[in-house]
Subunit: 178 residues, 2 copies
Amino acid sequence: MTPSRPTRILGIDPGSRTTGFGIIDVVGREQIYVVSGCIKTIKNDELAGRIGIIVENISELVATYRPTVAAVERVFVNVNPAATLMLGQARGAAIAALVLRGLPVYEYTALQVKQAVVGQGKAAKEQVQHMVVQMLKLSGTPQADAADGLAIALTHALRNQGLAAKLGSSQVKGGRFQ
Amino acid sequence: MTPSRPTRILGIDPGSRTTGFGIIDVVGREQIYVVSGCIKTIKNDELAGRIGIIVENISELVATYRPTVAAVERVFVNVNPAATLMLGQARGAAIAALVLRGLPVYEYTALQVKQAVVGQGKAAKEQVQHMVVQMLKLSGTPQADAADGLAIALTHALRNQGLAAKLGSSQVKGGRFQ
């Protein structure tokens, strides 16, 4: 039997200025760090330019690392309506790039991320970052937005772990990361 | 001298439920109707599904009609923050599709559209639609969102007419629509 391709999750934390991303592989019950970083738009650039930077970089990430699934942080509306609009635009552009590359997209709220990664919804941002470092055995702490991207990817992995185990995650164990 | 390709403008009015579009050609000082319509997302569909419908349809429009430039209505924030976020997402997806197809994107406010098409910023929506029908010599009134798409395309045409004339719009007169 051919071993199935391991699940590779691209987590994205969209922002109007900076979009964080993190990619992890799921091998059995283990999560393995692949890459993480930030996409920064140019301040004062026109909207089309900023959107172009987001879609082109995400498109390139998908082409290079070939994730099998994407998870995006479900944002909440900001007190500032103009900021909410800009955040929506950045988020729409990021999801557009994922959809155009044919990736299934899942959404998780910040509460779901905290519950999955730290175990409780009231965890501080620093606790989430700390757990990301521990779970992925990183030698240093990634930049905040990159850590958020990794935390979203981990959330998808952890929430689907039970299900995957039931469906026979042992198949995945025979994958190329063994 | 080879006649230059006529300017073909794709006007887009993004909305969370319906995205209107209109395409016109500019031949000298004339604007010629090409096509218009609406992209409707499926109510209750998940976000990725709705964004997929927007990007795929706009991408297909650009591939089919090959506009040379795009003009998008600059929206203003809504009183409802959740609606503002959703509108931002739809708008971000639409602009992402245009940018990925390599189109230059211009933005115009509703005020600029009214000033350009009707001649005054306080014009009612119906006056804008009436002028769209007159200017493009349409035999019927297009659907409201499609008319808005055409109005945005006309705005780009009218605002750039003076400039084009100075740069020698007579070249365009020799184009394939003569």
